[in-house]
């Protein structure tokens, strides 16, 4: 073999290796475009106006159509979305300047500018709970130029980007014409956003159809949480309401659906054996609470609230609610989900899950309780709520309480819980809150009315304090006060069950809500 031949062989080999390597790299990255994802969900959204409602189904759907200035990353911290970067804050902390990304188009072809952002945020500030909270501190919001917005604050607060970034009831940016045409209390009925998918058709009880928005410009960062590069691989998403949970499971098994949400834990085994689908445990779901009425009635008595807390043995309750499976629950006393790591506290000695009947009896006596019935509302529409209410009743009655369990439908429960005269306690679940100041169980304007002075003082300090370490110390203090005042009874964390087709690639299992960008079908 001559030199030249040898050289040629080596070169050829190297070239081949290079091709293979490059090819493999491309292959690993190649998520195919095309296809339809059929998602089975519980029912119809009350609206596709993100500003209007806190309903989770609206949150899930609208986050595909619209975007806000900020969103949450893998660590549930704010990251820029339609804004170019995190805001520039003046030295006194009172002026925020937001720079917008340029060349972002709405689904109607119009370019997004600061006028659209100002009009949308104003509308959001009057209807959304997060908007109202934030704009309580805002004195002025204006467009400085085509791509710059300035926000002036009354005082220094720590909640600007987080409130602009939460995915629920979120600060979606609509075209100015739409944001101004629909009053905040009226639902928007023209759905135009900047998101990777656009709404094609909404046929109630049949489907909500979304299609890829071809003029979408993804960000350059890697996908993270709800943000970063969002790429629509699939041509179309069909959201199909399938109210019966057994039907949703069957349709996953037959391949009629590619994804199903809100399944019952008892379908887990069936899905594991399925040839077409696989189960996904939704790790951030709800922690269960019994919300106590602190405005009127028996539970205004702090001793009684402490007695309730002392009496409970929560593990058997949680285990039962989770269908006996340990994968579906977690014992935790934190007031924010453990997955939101920056707010996770580790404290010992809090009076949680004590299972101390004697202590409970003593507290009842000290509270002057004479066995009056305590009206505890729950509903069978959410089986887990009913289950934990029933077991709670049993345990509390063992400790000397008299519980009048009132089982009503969900619509009745959510209506009644706003009237302090109608109940003493009700069941619900608390989803992820991304900042302690957003917590509804610590809010004076949410049912149950946690208007306790000390809790509100700590909360206000946390809104004003911008230093994370100091905020965290306040948060630890909040836990102590919480377990002393007992505004609500915190049970364990419950997890949800979802199912995905085995053909579905790239689904982010870590986020609370399901998202179908960066997802493809094999």
């Amino acid at each position: 073999m001559g030199h030249r031949t040898l050289l040629r062989t080596i070169l050829a080999t190297l070239a081949t290796i290079a091709l293979v390597v490059v090819g493999a790299a491309v292959d690993a990255d190649a998520q195919k475009k095309g296809g339809v994802v059929r998602v089975g969900n519980l029912g119809e959204p009350p609206t596709l106006d993100a500003h209007w409602t806190t309903a989770s189904i609206t949150e899930t759907l609208t986050n595909h159509i619209y975007e806000g200035l900020y969103t949450l990353d893998d660590d549930n911290k704010p990251m820029p979305m339609l804004a170019e970067s995190l805001p520039a804050v003046s030295r006194d902390g009172l002026t925020y300047t937001f720079k917008l990304r340029r060349g972002i188009k709405f689904h109607n072809g119009k370019e997004m500018t600061s006028d659209d952002v100002v009009a949308s945020l104003k509308r959001w500030s009057q209807q959304s709970i997060y908007g109202k909270d934030l704009f309580g501190y805002v004195t002025d919001l204006r467009a400085a130029d085509k791509y710059t917005i300035e926000m002036k604050l009354k005082e220094k607060v720590a909640i600007v980007t987080i409130n602009l970034g939460v995915a629920n009831n979120f600060a979606a940016i609509y075209p100015k014409e739409i944001a101004e045409k629909f009053k905040p209390q009226d639902k928007v009925t023209e759905y135009v956003g900047t998101g990777p998918f656009k709404l094609v058709e909404w046929k109630p009880d049949r489907y909500i159809r979304m299609a890829r928005f071809d003029d979408y410009k993804p960000r350059s960062e890697k996908p993270s949480g709800y943000g970063g590069a969002k790429i629509a691989y699939v041509d179309q998403i069909d959201w199909i309401p399938v109210p019966d949970v057994a039907t949703r499971v069957a349709q996953m098994e037959t391949g009629e659906l590619d994804f199903a949400d809100d399944l019952n834990a008892d379908a887990f085994d069936r899905l594991q054996k399925s040839a077409t689908a696989r189960p996904i445990i939704a790790k951030m779901y709800y922690w269960l609470v019994a919300v106590l009425n602190k405005k009127e009635g028996l539970m205004t008595n702090q001793k009684l609230r402490q007695a309730w807390q002392a009496a409970l043995d929560m593990e058997p309750i949680m285990k039962n609610v989770a269908g006996g499976r340990s994968e579906f629950y977690r014992m935790d006393y934190n007031l924010i989900h453990r997955e939101i790591a920056s707010w996770h506290v580790t404290m010992s000695g809090l009076p949680w899950n004590e299972h101390n009947k004697e202590k409970a009896k003593k507290l009842l006596q000290e509270g002057g309780y004479k066995g009056e019935p305590i009206r505890f509302m729950t509903t069978q529409e959410y089986k887990w709520m009913y289950d934990f209410a029933l077991l709670t009743k049993q345990q509390l009655e063992d400790a000397g309480f008299t519980i009048d369990l009132q089982v009503v439908d969900w619509a009745t429960l959510v209506k009644r819980r706003n009237n302090p005269k109608e109940y003493d306690a009700f069941t619900t679940g608390i989803g992820p809150q991304y900042d302690p100041t957003n917590s509804n169980v610590l809010s004076c304007s949410w049912p149950g009315w946690t208007c306790d002075e000390e809790i509100q003082r700590i909360k206000t300090e946390m809104i004003r304090e911008t230093d994370y370490k100091k905020r965290f110390a306040l948060w630890e203090q909040m836990h102590k006060v919480f377990y002393e005042k007992v505004p609500v009874i915190r049970y364990g964390d419950l997890f949800g069950l979802r199912a995905a087709s085995k053909k579905l690639k790239g689904f982010n299992e870590k986020t609370e809500r399901i998202r179908f960008y960066n997802v493809s079908i094999e």
Partner: protein, 314 residues
């Protein structure tokens, strides 16, 4: 005949008025309100109050009733709180699936029920009779949703012959529509066929014992001619009445079937509307179903005349 028809149609008005008013009060008197459901679990109390006001739900009930009646007289059933469209549009969209489901189930019910009843009656006490009537007993006893779920598991999940749930329009895609409709129609129809079978059997038995049948037999006519030509028509009147009732029941029974098989019909609409207190939609569906009920009854009464010429309308 025409006078009879006009009189019956006029009698519809007070019936509908009673239905409408009753529904209005019942739905408004159950606790719960649409706003708290719509705004979601995290909404604050003040936000709920503001929105109630904006929607006019804080007004007194009688004012809302007057508004409701003035609208109905103009042919306007109001606007759904949830669906962002007029109730009439929503009803119109759901009418087709329910009509198709009701008619196909009725077809299944009659196709199974009438022949089973006749065969059982023609050979009373035979093995056929016993097997068929046992089937009818099962049909009455098995809950519809249980049967539906088992059908789905067997024919869709295990065997993969038919889709588990869903709906396609007959007008757009007849083949797909048929595939989707088989399981719901059979599970809904099977339940109802039982009643038809039992009624057909007893009516047939009664007729078969009458003198003219004995005469026909004595003339040497075959069993087939006696049963199908002579007896059948006379046994039919009560059967038609039952079929009419069945159809009305089917409209109601469609509720569960529509949920399980995910058929976007009126039954599913009313269930979700009740759960979320979408008052205009509930009122609209009840109004339309009640009208359908009354009209079916009228149609049944008219059909009698054709089957039995002795029945006269004066």
């Amino acid at each position: 005949m025409t006078t009879y028809l006009v009189r019956r149609l006029l009698a519809l008005i007070p019936v509908m008025a009673v239905v409408v008013t009753t529904v209005f009060f019942i739905i408004h008197l159950i606790p719960g309100d649409p706003v708290s459901v719509m705004l979601g679990p995290d909404a604050t109390t003040s936000q709920i109050e503001e929105t109630r006001k904006a929607m006019g739900l804080d007004r007194p009930l009688y004012e809302q009733l007057v508004l409701f009646y003035t609208r109905i007289l103009k042919g306007d059933l109001g606007r759904s709180y949830f669906l962002d469209r007029p109730v009439t549009t929503a009803l119109w969209e759901r009418a087709e699936p329910t009509i198709v489901l009701t008619l196909t189930s009725l077809f299944v019910a009659v196709a199974i029920g009438v022949p089973s009843g006749i065969i059982a009656a023609a050979y009373p006490g035979s093995a056929w009779d016993r097997v068929l009537m046992l089937g009818a007993l099962l049909g009455v006893c098995i809950p519809g949703f249980w049967l539906s779920l088992n059908f789905i598991y067997l024919f869709a999940v295990r065997l993969g012959w038919l889709p588990a749930a869903g709906y396609a329009s007959v007008l757009e895609n007849p083949w797909a529509a048929l595939r989707y409709m088989v399981l719901p129609a059979v599970s809904l129809g099977f339940n109802q066929s039982a009643l038809i079978a039992r009624i057909s059997r007893s009516c047939m038995l009664e007729v078969l014992q009458q003198d003219y049948i004995r005469t026909a037999r004595a003339k040497g006519l075959s069993q087939r001619v006696v049963v199908y030509i002579h007896a059948f028509r006379n046994a039919l009147v009560p059967v038609v009445a039952v079929i009419g009732i069945t159809m009305a029941i089917l409209i109601g029974g469609a509720v569960v079937t529509e949920i399980v098989f995910n058929i976007p019909g009126l039954g599913r609409l009313i269930i979700s509307a009740i759960l979320r207190r979408d008052y205009p939609v509930v009122q609209g569906v009840v109004l339309v179903t009640a009208a359908a009920y009354v009209l079916i009854n009228l149609a049944v009464d008219l059909v009698y005349g054709f089957i039995d010429p002795r029945i006269r309308y004066d």
